[in-house]
Amino acid sequence: MTPYVNQLLDKARWRRELEMRAKKGNTMSERLAEALRTELREILEAGGKSFDVQVARHLYDFAIAAKDLLTVSAKSVEATIKVINDLNGPVESLTQDGDPVPFEQASETFGTRMMREVLAALPLLMKKPDDPKQLVHALAEARATGMDDVARELEIKLFGHMITPDPEDLEKLTQKYLGQADIEVPVGSFAHGLADGRAGKSRAYETQEYAEGYVRGATNGVHHQCEP
C-alpha cells in the first residue's frame, strides 16, 4: 500500500475508533483493563531478569491473545446494523461521513437511477403516435356525418383542446354566467342593448331606446346621419 493510502486508512481508523467508543460507550471494562495491565507489567518485569528473547516472545503471545480477547465481531443483523448506524457507514473505509461523493460515482448513481426511470416511462413513449393526416380526415368525416361527440374527441387529440364547443355546454354556460346575472345598465345605453341581447331577451335593438343608446355608445355620442 502506498503511504497516501496508509495515511488515509490510519486517519479513518482513528476517527472511527473514537466515534465508536463515544457512541457505544464500548470501552473495555476497568476490571479487564486492570487485569491486562497487571499481566503486561509482570511479563515485562520477568521476575527481575533482563529483557531477552523469551520475554519478547511472551510479550508477543500476550499481545495476540489480548487482541483476540478484545475484538468483538458482530454476528447478528441487529448488532451489525447498530455498528453501521453508530458510525453512519462501514468501519473499514477510506472515506468519512460527510465526504463528497467522487464525481464518477455520482454520475454512475445518477445514470442508474435515470435508466430505471427512462425504462419505466418507455411504454408510454413507445405508444405509436396517431397520424395527423388520418386524424384530420376522421375529423372531417365525423363533422360531415354529424357525430359531434366523436369530432370533439378528435379535436382534443389533434389540437390538445376542443375547438367547436358542445352546443348543450354552450347553452348551459350562457345560462350560468349571463342568464342568471343581475346586470344593471342604464336603459337605452349601448350596454343595455348588449345585456338584453345576451340574456336571451327580446332583441333590444328593435326598441327605440336601444337604437339610440347603441348609436351613442358606438359613435361616442356623435350622431351621424346615414346617407340614404
Binding site: M1, N85, T95, D99, P100, P102, F103, Q105, P123
Partner: protein, 290 residues
C-alpha cells in the same frame, strides 16, 4: 412448482400446470427482454410447444403464454436464452427446506433431481456486476414471492424487521450483511453487502433486477460461489478523490476477469448519467420552443 427468472420489472416465471403443460408469465418486459422472449418463443414454436408470437411493436405489459411442455423441459431452454451462460446460478428449493444449486452447464442434472424429489421452487440468478452506484433510500415493497421461497424462517424474520439478512460465505465462512438497496443501512454503507467480520463493504450491484431479486442473487452466490463476488474487482475501496485501493483484505481470484471487471459497465452508466441531464434540458428547450 414455480421457476423464477428475475427481470427488470419483476420476475418472468414458469408455472407448472396440469398434464405436462407449463404457463410462462411475462411481467412488463423491457424492449431487450421482449427480444429475448421472442427468441425463446421461436425455439418453443420449433418444438411445437406454442404457436404464439411477440410482435415488434407489441405494447404488452403482463401476459401468460401456454406451453405444451413440462417445466423441466421449458426451464432450461428459457435459462439459456434470458440469462448469461457462464455466470448464472440456478437454485432449486425442496420441501424439506434444503436447496441445491447448479450453473447452466450442469442444469440438466439438477433438473433431473428436482423431477424425482419434491421441489417447491426454482430460481435462475445472474451474478451481480462489480462496481459502484451508491444505494439510496427509497420505497420498499413487501417481500417478493421469489425471495420468500428461498429464505429460512430466521432470515424471513430479520428481513421483515430490518430489510436485511445475514449470510455465511460458502468458502470463507465470513458473515455478510445483505441489505435492501433502498434501506437506510444500504444508503449508509453505499452498497448492499458488508463483511461483518472484516468490517468493509464489497462493491457489486445488480440494478437490472428489482431489489429483492438482487439480494437473492447475492445470497445464493455468496453461499455457493463466493469467489464470484469476493474477488479483486469487488474487494476494493474508493477514496474521496475517486481512486480505487486494495487494502489487503482476503479475496479470491475473479473467475470472470481481473480488478477492472465491471468498470466498462460503470463507465457506460456514468456516461449516461452525464448525458441524461443535458438531454433533458434540450428536450425541455424544444418543448418550450414548440
Amino acid at each position: 412448482v414455480k421457476w423464477f427468472f428475475p427481470a427488470w420489472n419483476g420476475d418472468f416465471r414458469l408455472v407448472e400446470g396440469a398434464e405436462g403443460e407449463t404457463q410462462l408469465l411475462i411481467m412488463q418486459p423491457t424492449p431487450v427482454e421482449l427480444k429475448m422472449l421472442d427468441a425463446f418463443l421461436k425455439v418453443a414454436r420449433k418444438k411445437k410447444w406454442t404457436t404464439e408470437k411477440i410482435a415488434d411493436d407489441e405494447g404488452i405489459t403482463t401476459r401468460t403464454i401456454r406451453l405444451a411442455a413440462s417445466i423441466t423441459d421449458a426451464g432450461p431452454a428459457l435459462v439459456k436464452i434470458v440469462k448469461p451462460k457462464d455466470r448464472t446460478l440456478t437454485a432449486v428449493a425442496f420441501k424439506d427446506g434444503k436447496f441445491e444449486v447448479a450453473e447452466t452447464g450442469g442444469l440438466e442434472t439438477l433438473v433431473a433431481k428436482a423431477k424425482k424429489a419434491d421441489a417447491t421452487a426454482a430460481v435462475s440468478v445472474a451474478r451481480p456486476t462489480p462496481c459502484c452506484p451508491r444505494c439510496e433510500v427509497g420505497a420498499i415493497a413487501p417481500a417478493s414471492e421469489v425471495l420468500q421461497a428461498f429464505l429460512s424462517p430466521e432470515e424471513h424474520e430479520t428481513w421483515a424487521k430490518h430489510r436485511a439478512i445475514m449470510v455465511t460465505g460458502g468458502t470463507s465462512g465470513h458473515q455478510y450483511l445483505l441489505a435492501h438497496r433502498h434501506s437506510r443501512t444500504a444508503a449508509q454503507l453505499g452498497k448492499i453487502c458488508y463483511d461483518a467480520d472484516d468490517r468493509f463493504v464489497l462493491h457489486f450491484h445488480d440494478s437490472s433486477v428489482p431489489p429483492e431479486e438482487e439480494i437473492l442473487a447475492a445470497k445464493l452466490i455468496l453461499e455457493h460461489r463466493e469467489p464470484w463476488l469476493r474477488n479483486e474487482a469487488t474487494v476494493l475501496q474508493l477514496d474521496e478523490k475517486g481512486g480505487w485501493h486494495d487494502l489487503g483484505f482476503m479475496r479470491y481470484k475473479n473467475p470472470f476477469g481481473d480488478a477492472s471487471d465491471g468498470r466498462g459497465d460503470a463507465a457506460l452508466t456514468a456516461a449516461f448519467g452525464n448525458v441524461a441531464p443535458i438531454a433533458v434540458q434540450i428536450y425541455k428547450a424544444m418543448q418550450g420552443n414548440a
